[in-house]
């Protein structure tokens, strides 16, 4: 059962082959068994999950119609609010914060019958690419415990890879769903900006953040997106566009599909093993009937600096609300502390080093005298990047790149060099800057032999689609998945 897809589990529960409680218990036992070595969860909500599962079994007994995620255990990234459940964003500043409201995404999966098993670790406020920036300790990659699971949704990706849940929710601001999915050998989908409501997602960079699923198969990603997507009156940036049937779009047929490959962009700084896995994936797609088209993305090389200007600027403002006044951590205060000192100490104690670094960067970027040179310029380049993609999508249907330039790196390997760490996002940030949907699917393994025992490290293929054309994107990814067996391989 642990290896089953969300769809299979749903069908089995609906058919009465297994109870939601049994499914829930099985996954909770798995979490108990593996989480001590992974640290993928900030919180396991066993009692609440079992009660939910029992409720679903009761409903089924009374013939209440099944939701599309009926009884499916789901792990939720700890930057999404779940009413009554501690939500920390892996930060000390929200150590004891319990939201009195649900994120819209959470509300929707629960309404669809999902059973939330717990909150998964992430980089603090989703800022990072290795999940090492958590106040509650790093997460280990299930494929190689001394390596990073990627970030910021590292806990969600590790949980799915380690079969703690068939489905997890993540958030993606610059690759935070796709990069950990690639590192952990699972599927991760970042929907189009505006496709999924951000209400209740602890904001990192509001114009880039998007919630999406991490799961074992593309078909499960389509299933989950169908539940998550759609307009939300509580989020003014959510799109009113109708939501198509994503599952029906999975035909397995990609004959004539035009796949753009930015050869020059992916030529530099890419690990040989990643490159050969990527080339092999392109070959597979071509043999399945897709047409490979060489494309140019002339401004993609600026995406990393543009991203770190825009994202930090928005973050510096988004994180101002954590001030110790209304909720969250407040420094010990005998009533004699001046207001400014209360702020300073509270935020100094509450935020980790990377969050502070980005708040300072973002504050600088927006400062009088620097705004035009940094923030405004970054937005202008963002427009150029959008134009690059507009041109590309006139002659292609999806764009293919490796998800990451390297296989998973070792824990601690890049923590002293933030710039190196930021480069881990080189292929993923563009989709956020332009708002495009993008997916990472497993496309092979890199064998690492420099340690004591050889390690098999997952490699991801990233496909990027047109705005709001997740259907084509998912169909391409699903077609690839049908021709390969990378996604069924699991860590030991």
């Amino acid at each position: 059962m642990l290896d089953s897809s969300a769809r299979t589990i749903r069908d089995d529960i609906a058919a009465g082959n297994v109870s939601a409680v049994d499914v829930c218990r099985t996954f909770l036992e798995r979490i108990d068994a593996v989480n001590p070595s992974l640290n993928a969860f900030n919180l396991v909500a066993a009692d609440r999950a079992l009660a939910r599962a029992a409720e679903i079994d009761r409903q089924r007994a009374h013939g209440v119609s099944a939701g599309p995620l009926m009884g499916v255990p789901v792990a939720v990234k700890d930057n999404l609010c779940v009413r009554g459940m501690r939500t920390t964003a892996s930060s000390r500043i929200l150590e004891r914060f319990v939201p009195p409201y649900d994120a819209t995404a959470v509300e929707r999966i629960e309404a669809a019958g999902a059973v939330i098993v717990g909150k998964t670790s992430c980089d603090e406020f989703a800022m990072g690419s290795s999940n090492e920036n958590s106040a509650y300790g790093p997460v280990c990659n299930p494929w190689a415990l001394d390596r990073a699971p990627g970030g910021s949704s590292g806990g969600s990706a590790a949980a799915v890879a380690a079969r703690c849940a068939p489905l997890a929710l993540g958030s993606d601001t610059g690759g935070s769903i796709r990069q950990p999915a690639a590192f952990c050998g699972v599927v991760g989908l970042k929907p189009t900006y505006g496709r999924v409501s951000r209400y209740g997602l602890l904001a990192f960079a509001s114009s880039l953040d998007q919630i999406g699923p991490i799961c074992g198969t593309v078909s499960d990603a389509a299933l989950a997106l169908g539940v998550l997507a759609g307009p939300d009156p509580a989020d003014a940036t959510s799109s009113p566009r109708p939501v198509p049937d994503f599952t029906a779009a999975l035909t397995g047929d990609i004959t004539g599909l035009r796949i753009g490959v930015p050869r020059a962009f992916v030529a530099e700084g890419v690990d040989d093993r990643v490159r050969s896995a990527f080339d092999e994936a392109l070959d597979t797609l071509r043999r399945a009937g897709a047409r490979l088209v060489d494309i140019e993305l002339p401004h993609a090389k600026y995406a990393i600096p543009v991203y770190y200007l825009v994202a930090t600027a928005e973050a510096s403002s988004n994180l101002a609300r954590y001030d110790g006044v209304r909720y969250g951590h407040r420094t010990a205060d005998d009533g004699r502390l001046e207001l400014q000192d209360m702020y300073r100490r509270t935020r100094d104690e509450g935020f980790g080093a990377e969050v502070k670094r980005r708040i300072m960067l973002g504050t600088y970027v927006l400062s009088a005298g620097y705004y035009d040179a940094f923030y405004l310029k970054a937005q202008q380049v963002r427009t150029l990047l959008r134009q690059d993609y507009d041109a590309v999508f006139e002659k292609t249907d999806v764009v293919a790149m490796p998800t990451t330039p390297t296989p998973p790196f070792r824990l601690g390997e890049k923590t002293d060099d933030p710039l190196q760490m930021y480069l881990a996002d080189v292929f993923t940030v563009s989709a956020n800057l332009v708002g495009l949907p993008a997916i990472s699917v497993p496309c092979g393994f890199a064998t690492e032999t420099d340690g004591a025992a050889p390690q098999r490290l997952p490699v991801g293929l990233q496909l990027t689609g047109r705005l709001f054309d997740e259907a084509t994107l998912l169909n391409a990814a699903d077609a690839y998945e049908r021709l390969t067996d990378w996604h069924v391989q699991r860590p030991g």
């Binding site: 999404l80 939201p99 602890l202 904001a203 994180l319 209304r326 004699r336």
Partner: protein, 480 residues
Amino acid sequence: MKYEPVIGLEIHAQLRTRTKIFCGCSTAYGAAPNTHVCPVCLGMPGALPVLNRQAVDYAIRAATALGCEVQPVSVFARKNYFYPDLPKGYQISQYEQPLALGGGLDVVGGDTPHVGLTRIHMEEDAGKSLHEGFVDSSRRTYVDYNRGGVPLIEIVTEPDMRSGAGAAAFFSQLRDILVWLDVNDGNMEEGSLRCDANVSVRPVGQQRFGTKAEVKNVNSFRYVQKAIEYEIDRQIELLENGGTVVQETRLWDSATGRTMSMRSKEEAHDYRYFPEPDLPPLVVSDERVAAVRATMPELPEARRRRFVASYGLPDYDAGVLTQSVGLADYFEQVAATAGNVKAASNWVMGEVLRTLNDRGNTIEDVPLAPDALAGLIGLVDKGTISSSTAKDVFARMYDSGRSADDIVATDGLAQIGDESALLSIVRQVLESHGDAVAQYRAGKTATFGFLVGQVMKASKGKGNPKLINGILRRELDGAA
């Protein structure tokens, strides 16, 4: 040297929506602290703003009435600073692209005939810090977030005013218009209308502006005038003693009647404005502006001119009757039903306003429907009652809610219009006032008035004065 003051105002007006600008919480004033709050207006993690359409319509209404150009696209921006009453650590406002540009107001009275407007933009109000009134107020400040997120417009004027009195006249007239439009309740005590003043002075004849100080917290017409006058004097004195004015924010202290430095230019906040990514640009179509315009009450100035032109009312009467939408509406309804414009105007300006003032009521509280007052006017016009009786009837109507017909019939107040009845009263009066009659006949004609009064008294005020005059004159002169 002679100096010329240069003054511009920034006015914050709360819009009279029922709910806040970015969430569904109530805007009602005076509720228990922190009861009109939700995750959005408390700045809870993950909560997002959604723009209140009604607030936009009210802002459009104010902008249109003030002659501004409503912009087809305006952009919300974040104004970043830390303060406990600002839950998100930023205020959602508009910065580079405000809702409306330009416009202005012709000021009646005062020394600035026209004040231009620079812009009107929308923003959210902050909560309220309570530094006093708690047992531990020496150590703690409490915050009430009920006001946080109440919709505001900020109206920024050009530096067109030249005196404290001129600024106060403009502010007062602007308030009347906002209240007239029903976009703001005009209540400065509760803080729903607030004013800051930018004040500088320059030698007469100099084109360049002097260095300005921003004076905050001038929240009444009187304080606008006094604070500006104080600030003008302070700056002139400073310059005349060889000093220089520094750019700073100053706080008006109404207790001492002075302004005091709050923060200098160097200490000024860098608000790090940038476009609010949680809200798409605000797009306002021409159709929407037209629709708002269609629901707008006729502006006081236009209505005043119409009252003069179509009712033939004197300027003064038209001015009084257009003090508020309610009063003007009331008058027009009375006039239409009574068919006697002059009488309607006299009644509304006279008895109605006097009684409202005496009782501390407003026109919205008046217990007399316009039809009822028109009925009273009709009785006077028909001669059924005298105008002095009518005042008495009016008072009874006001208190009892009964109709004029009912009161006149039941209380027997109809005039005595019967000549023979009046003749016998007149003869009785002449008989008992022989000396007065003698004086009259001796040429002291002023006594006539005395005798009329005696007849009225004998008729218990119900005698038709015109008839009494005729009969009395005939009796006195005829017998001579």
